[in-house]
């Protein structure tokens, strides 16, 4: 396509030497990564919905007034809140990676890493608690 000599000058500066320029392979890998991350987030949303139904069922059958019913509902609500946060950060990370790669912008990519970090912190804490619970079950 020929360049229009009457076009106004673009405001975007030319890409810096040695900056972020993704190859088609890199774009394909990140695009695919973002799709799988979003796919996993859909399953997380389904699990959150099932946990919500379970807590409603618990309220209907056991009732929140009893200590057992109240404990189950509080546990499910906390688990749902944690999973909602993790799912949102996973989706944000996927969007950040995809936008950063398509625009060759390291700032947007950095934002994706920030969201991925929070997602990994949530699962890191869950992993530590899970390991401690397993050790407790063996020792106790």
């Amino acid at each position: 396509m020929e360049q229009n000599p009457f076009a106004p000058p673009t405001s975007a500066p030319p890409p810096a030497e040695g900056g972020l320029v993704f190859s088609s392979e890199g774009v394909e890998v990140v695009s695919s990564l973002a799709k799988w991350m979003r796919g996993l987030s859909v399953f997380y949303f389904i699990f959150i919905g099932l946990a919500g139904l379970l807590s409603c069922g618990t309220v209907a059958t056991v009732g929140v007034g009893s200590a057992r019913g109240g404990g189950i509902v509080i546990g499910l609500v906390v688990a749902m809140a944690v999973m909602i946060a993790a799912t949102m950060f996973l989706r944000e990370a996927a969007s950040g990676f995809e936008r950063g790669v398509y625009s060759d912008d390291e700032m947007t990519l950095g934002a994706g890493f920030r969201s991925l970090r929070i997602y990994l912190i949530i699962f890191g804490v869950i992993g530590i608690l899970s390991a401690l619970r397993t050790i407790w079950a063996i020792v106790g």
Binding site: E106, F123, G127
Partner: protein, 124 residues
């Protein structure tokens, strides 16, 4: 992707390093939990439970090794000494893709098996 440095800001590099550290935490704690759970099941007498736990532990080991590799590659991106930022970033993204893809596939298989078991129970 060419082998060049990426001009990440200092703050972004710190976040990438922190994400890599937490990735290591997730993978190591998952590997420890998987190994311990297998040890507990091995002490039980039921062979079917042991087989199921072995499958689960095998899957945990594979996906967490991918997460470990991704975290190590991202640590290199965050470090100032390594010049091949884009190459390491691509390795990290590839391993992360394998990590998330395997999880989705296993959930799909588990859901399919669950539906099959439900249908089989209804048919009996």
């Amino acid at each position: 992707m060419s082998s060049t440095r990426i001009p990440f800001t200092r703050e972004d590099k710190e976040k990438i390093a922190s994400a890599a550290t937490w990735g290591l935490v997730v993978s190591v704690t998952s590997l420890i939990t998987g190994a311990l759970a297998l040890l507990v099941e091995l002490s039980s007498a039921k062979a079917s439970e042991v087989f199921g736990q072995m499958l689960q532990t095998g899957f945990t080991v594979v996906i967490n090794i991918w997460l470990l590799q991704a975290s190590l590659a991202l640590r290199k991106v965050a470090s100032d000494t390594n010049a091949n930022d884009q190459g390491n970033l691509l390795i990290g993204f590839r391993k992360l893709r394998a990590y998330f893809m395997a999880q989705v596939i296993v959930i799909l298989i588990a859901v399919a098996l669950g539906v099959l078991a439900f249908v089989a129970m209804k048919a009996l």
